[in-house]
Each structure stands twice: as structure tokens, then as C-alpha cells.
Symmetry: C2
Subunit: 185 residues, 2 copies
DNA sequence: ATAAACTTTCAGTAATTTCTGAAACTTCAG
DNA sequence: CTGAAGTTTCAGAAATTACTGAAAGTTTAT
């Protein structure tokens, strides 16, 4: 499997960024390698290409499958397992986004719900609860919103994003269009 | 400074989540502590409350200031420095979002621009470039979008988020409203 | 100018995370 | 059933990241 200079720099970069995106260096590298090659890759090719151990490769592939970013690809007549991206770039981005939401927001939402059920023991707690409640509401909005965006699908998402500063204007007009929706101001 | 059970669990939780949100455990704990207390806190109170070293506290506070999540608060007649949240919950969320975008997206965007300038050496590279270009466009959309959302401000953002499934419908109607905007489909 | 009250820095240590590679496991062909 | 071709697991090693605390730095009052 070819590792041209261009591909190498991209792979290395995605490795470095990996840790910021919720997975570790090798997982990032493996993902980049698989996404940038149109041909399905075997675990061994990946290990060789990145000069990492076969064991590490196996764990990385496992994690990428848990994130639903790659999938197995069966080559008829071949014993080995091959891997390909689980979808197009938009799909992958969406999955990363979704998965991070699960890890970064959901556990907090769940804790906040519990904490808000307790009776405040004094004014300090009562005040803290007020803040926790704001955080809770914010996270719920974000969650609902992100699920809404998910359900739009790539094309509409793209339209929405390209709408750019039009969003503000659409928002101003929305009351006339959608009288059923409640207004905040 | 009181550490009631409720506040303690919240602080501990935000500490654990901290690493997932881009900063480390103690930084998360310090932030939670400051946000949940209406009174300004001194570095010493924070160190004591969390049982961490004064040095670590100092570094944590520095980082939170770099993220623009807390600010100094001068108490007349006091020599010590006190710290308070840099704004309301929405402001803080926005800042975290913005800061993460800078760390997680901008460097990649910049690398991709460079890689796309190179002439592809062969068909493998040319294919990889096609994919890199898709990633580039996606990240640019996300960046533009997130800046757009920033500029709406908390109230409108809240309206937009609460709009929920109305977003899809607004989108369908937008052509009639904003004939100037280009359409993707 | 001194000292008290406070903050920051940073070298060394501790804790955590990641990686390796050998052993165990699985699957298939003959 | 045996062994070859492959995959996974996991204990220990390596690398990275976070934390401590003593020393150096800063600011203010006298």
C-alpha cells in the first residue's frame, strides 16, 4: 500500500489531531489512512504503513468500528478482513459529532437531572441549583438541536450551513411563517 | 468556602468531564467551583476546597483565563486576587465552543489548504486530494456556520434551538423568503 | 529599603494513557 | 484432526500528561 508524501502528511496530521477529536494518535492515523485510500486495507497493511504493532492496530480498528467510522469489507476468496470508511465524509463527520455528544453531554445531563431532584439544604445550594438548572437547560437545547440537525441529512445540512448570515434573517421572519412556534423574546 | 455535598458532586463530575471538554481534571473542578459560587473565590480558597497544590491552582486559573471562562475580580481593600465566571452560562458555553473550534478545526483547515496546493503525483494522490477537498469544504462550512451562530447572540441562539423541528420547515420555505440565496438541490 | 502577603514558575515525581509483542484464540483447508 | 493464516487479548514497558512544593518573583504597606 502506497504512502506518498501527501498522504503521509495528511495521516500524520490527523494522528496529531486525533487526541483533540476524542481518540488517540494511532486511531486518528488509521482512520485517515482508510479514508484516503479508495482500496480496502487489511490490518496488516495498516500496521506496516504506520509502523505500529499488530496488536495496537487491532485495538484501533475495534475502536473505529465502535465509533461506526469504518466497516469491514469482505473480499471474495480472501481470508483476511479488509476495512473501508463507513460512509461519505458527511456521514463520518455526523458520526463523530454524535458520538462525542454521547460522551461529552449525556453523562452530565444525567447527573444534573439527579442533582436537581435534591432539596437544597441552604441558600448556597439553592443558588448553585439555579445555575445547574441553567446548564441543564442549555445542554438539553444543544442535544435536541443536534438531533434535529442529524435528521435533516447531509444535503439539507449543507443548505443550512451555506445559508450563512441568512439564518439571522430567517429567524426574524419565522413568526410570520410558523405561528405555532413559541417565541422567547 | 462551603463545599456542600451537592456542590461537591457537581464539582467532581465536571472534573471528570473536563478531560473530554478539552481541559484537565483540576481545571474542570476549578471552573465548576467558581461558576457554582456566587461569591468571588480566592486562589487559596480554591486550592483548599479542592485539596490541590497552590501551584496547580495557579496554572489552572491561568488556563481558564486563557479560555476566557473566568476573570479576575478586585475586592476593594483586599490584597488577594479573586475570581468570578466571565459571563453567564451561555457566554461560557459559547467560549468553550469557540475555543475548541480554534484547536480542533483551524489547524486542520490550514494544513488542508497547503496539501491541496500540491500537484498530485499520481492517481492515488489525486484521489486522496479529492477526499481532502471534501473534508476541507466541510470544515469551512462548519467554521462559517459556527461563526454565524456566535454572532446571533444568546437570545436568538436560544430561539433557534428551541425552534427544533421547525428548522426543517423554515429551510423548505427559505427560497420564497430569500430569493437571493443560492440553492444546493 | 524591608518585610509581609501574595503569585508564578518549574524541576522532579506521580498518575494516566498508549503501545508492544508474545500467547491465546478462531477459522478454514485438506 | 492438524496446521496454516489470520485475529484478539492483555501484562508489562514506554510515552505522555498532570501535580507538587520549594524557590523565585511581584506588589504593597510602612
Amino acid at each position: 500500500m502506497k504512502m506518498t508524501p501527501l498522504i503521509t502528511s495528511a495521516v500524520m496530521h490527523f494522528g496529531e489531531m486525533g487526541s483533540r477529536w476524542g481518540f488517540n494518535r494511532t486511531v486518528g492515523q488509521i482512520l485517515a489512512l482508510i479514508v484516503l485510500h479508495d482500496k480496502p486495507l487489511s490490518a496488516q497493511e495498516i500496521a506496516d504503513g504506520l509502523s505500529i504493532s499488530r496488536g495496537n492496530t487491532s485495538m484501533g480498528l475495534k475502536e473505529l468500528q465502535a465509533w461506526r467510522l469504518i466497516k469491514q469489507h469482505i473480499v471474495p476468496g480472501e481470508r483476511k478482513e479488509f476495512f473501508v470508511p463507513a460512509g461519505d465524509i458527511w456521514t463520518l463527520a455526523t458520526r463523530v459529532f454524535e458520538e462525542r455528544r454521547k460522551r461529552e453531554i449525556d453523562p452530565t445531563l444525567s447527573l444534573l437531572r439527579d442533582l436537581l431532584l435534591d432539596e437544597p439544604a441552604n441558600s448556597t445550594e439553592s443558588n448553585a441549583q439555579k445555575t445547574l438548572n441553567e446548564i441543564h437547560d442549555l445542554l438539553e437545547s444543544v442535544t435536541a438541536w443536534s438531533q434535529e440537525l442529524q435528521s435533516l441529512g447531509p444535503e439539507k445540512l449543507d443548505t443550512l450551513m451555506k445559508l450563512g448570515s441568512g439564518v439571522g434573517r430567517v429567524l426574524e421572519l419565522k413568526d410570520k411563517l410558523l405561528p405555532g412556534k413559541n417565541t422567547v423574546n
